[in-house]
């Protein structure tokens, strides 16, 4: 990733209180957890599916369990964390609805980000070319993409309504640019945002 810190990391860092108990779901090699530990002194726990990712995290001194959100969130007790983070992997979950609802069972607050399938480039690829979109945020061809549950910003909004969740903040993310706070119900933003980041609470 060019330009230093990922734009969603910057937002998450800003939103995370010092010393918070944080669960990072799909924490990869632990970049975000490491950042939060160093900058905010959080009590961090990661969940990561790849053994290489977990090993990298262990080498950095992070507490990370090899597992995945679809199967392992249910092992955590209710309200075990202050913040649960699911960064750009919601669309890869088998059961995204269950995952979002679990995040808000085990944590008081969830930070969820995902690529917006309503972005104009995506719509254009489908409308004009009649092909599955391959964009900066969705680079893989349809037959090899790990993204099995893509949604638009407004689709996700409908899910949060359905689950009775409160949206504390919503930001549009686009590679390289600083996050932009937006009104999630805006029709225009559903065209403009390449990816979206939601901060959710139970209502």
């Amino acid at each position: 990733m060019s330009g230093g810190m990922r734009e969603d990391f910057r937002e998450i860092l800003r939103l995370t209180p010092a010393g918070a108990r944080v669960l990072d779901v799909g924490c990869g090699e632990g970049d975000l957890l490491d950042l939060l530990t160093r900058e905010r002194g959080v009590d961090g726990q990661g969940l990561e599916i790849s053994a290489d990712g977990v090993s990298a995290c262990l080498a950095r001194g992070l507490a990370v369990v090899q597992g995945d959100a679809d199967h392992d969130l249910d092992s955590f007790p209710t309200r075990a964390f202050d913040v649960a983070i699911l960064s750009k992997t919601l669309q890869q979950m088998r059961d995204p609805r269950h995952v979002v609802s679990e995040l808000l069972r085990i944590a008081d607050r969830a930070v969820v980000s995902f690529p917006n399938f309503g972005h104009w480039r995506v719509r254009w690829a489908l409308l004009a070319r009649g092909r599955m979109p391959e964009t900066r945020t969705l680079p893989d061809p349809w037959w090899s993409t790990p993204n099995i549950h893509l949604c638009t910003l407004h689709d996700f909004l409908a899910l949060t309504d359905d689950l009775g969740l409160r949206i504390e903040a919503c930001a549009a993310l686009s590679g390289g640019h600083p996050a932009r706070f937006i009104h999630p119900r805006s029709v225009l933003e559903n065209w403009r945002a390449e990816a979206a980041l939601f901060v959710l609470r139970r209502d």
Partner: protein, 385 residues
């Protein structure tokens, strides 16, 4: 094979046999009391002034205290010289490493071949049945006797991994971190079944003599060797056996008889016969029994998380091997889920390998790097340099 790796030369810093006085018996789960209790151990490195750098290493079923020093019977290097030594994850330059022979063992800690004070003869089957909590209680007595209030880490493999979990349940305030490698929180039906094969082989040997073989001046070597052969298969993965031996023959053709035609047969027989030189048949019966009785959740109404609720301040690391079918990844995951449920700080990784349970002792860079990372961050939190 005899040469020690230079990394470990001269690192043994002490050890011997700790003899607890008769007024300090070991209270056993069975209700019996064992006295006098002796615990044989070895140490590596030096205890620092704060007494904060002690690491207790817990060995597997047929392991012993010769963690990183030449074995007195076999002349082979210690069983974990891959991990313990200068520049290695457990480093005598930084850690004070203790390894004790398990209760019921045959390398100096009180076991069925020890002298029964009531008769003056070896205990044999008069030795009380022991459990994993009993083993841990004896280890805790040794650690206390060595003047250590809190262990920086308790690290165990296989049977030792189970003891690590028991330590976390019984003495959470006395451990700072816990590493369970290829362990489990209970023995499965398949685990018990394999052990029963081993015990049946020992007991079927006419030289077992109802456990009183020492008085008769014989040893049930055939039975113990068969027990080891059966167990050894469970330590290897099918892929590793196939890779090592395939259907390779010992000589050019089949013997058309029952000699060791196949290389895998020869290997297993060697495993069996070399084992009897260094292990006692009754110890094998007692320790396998303790493993079979192990079910950590049982004392917590079947809820494993209950065993860990008092251990929320302990830093846990659970490691499994992908091709281990003796104590599989599923068993480790079961432990990790319970740690999560109890709100413990836990790390877990399944190490990708085709070497089976035996990967504990073999070249596994991913194991080293996981141990190194976990121990380094724990050391930082503990204030060790």
């Amino acid at each position: 094979m005899k040469a020690l790796s230079p990394a470990n030369e001269g690192y043994e810093s002490g050890g011997g046999v700790w003899r607890f006085p008769a007024d300090r018996p070991l209270r056993l789960d069975s209700g019996a009391a064992l006295s006098p209790l002796e615990v044989a151990y070895r140490t590596y490195g030096r205890l620092n002034a704060d007494r904060s750098n002690a690491v207790l290493v817990l060995h597997a079923l047929t392991g012993d205290q010769y963690l990183a020093s030449t074995h007195p019977v076999t002349g082979k290097p210690g069983w974990w010289t891959r991990v313990v030594g200068r520049g290695l994850p457990l480093d005598p330059d930084h850690h004070f490493i203790i390894c004790a022979n398990v209760l019921g063992g045959c390398m100096g800690t009180t076991g069925p071949s020890s002298t029964n004070p009531a008769t003056g003869a070896p205990y044999g089957l008069a030795f009380p049945v022991i459990t994993i909590p009993d083993m841990v209680r004896a280890q805790a007595m040794l650690v206390e006797a060595l003047g250590i209030e809190t262990l920086f880490a308790v690290v165990g493999t296989s049977l030792g991994g189970m003891q690590v979990l028991q330590w976390a349940a019984d003495y959470p305030e006395r451990i700072f971190s816990a590493i369970c490698i290829a362990g489990a929180a209970r023995h499965s039906a398949q685990n018990i079944a394999f052990h029963e094969v081993g015990r049946a082989a020992i007991m079927a040997d006419p030289d077992w003599r109802g456990g009183a073989y020492e008085a008769a001046g014989v040893r049930p070597e055939k039975g113990l060797a068969v027990a080891r052969m059966a167990a050894h298969i469970t330590y290897l993965s099918e892929a590793a056996l196939q890779r090592k031996f395939g259907r390779e023959l010992q000589s050019d053709g089949l013997s058309w008889g029952f000699d060791t035609d196949f290389q895998v047969e020869s290997y297993l027989r060697h495993q069996g016969t070399s084992f009897v030189d260094r292990f006692d048949a009754n110890s094998y019966l007692y320790i396998t029994r303790a493993l079979d009785y192990f079910d950590l959740a049982a004392a917590y109404d079947g809820q494993l998380a209950g065993a860990f609720v008092a251990a929320r301040d302990v830093r846990f690391c659970v490691l499994s091997f992908s091709s281990d079918w003796l104590y599989s990844t599923a068993e480790s995951r079961h432990v990790v889920r319970a740690l999560n449920a109890a709100g413990c700080r836990a790390s877990f990784v399944e190490i990708e390998t085709d070497k089976g349970h035996d990967a504990i002792f073999l070249e596994e860079p991913a194991l080293d790097s996981a141990l190194r990372g976990f121990l380094a961050s724990a050391a930082e939190k503990r204030g060790l340099s």
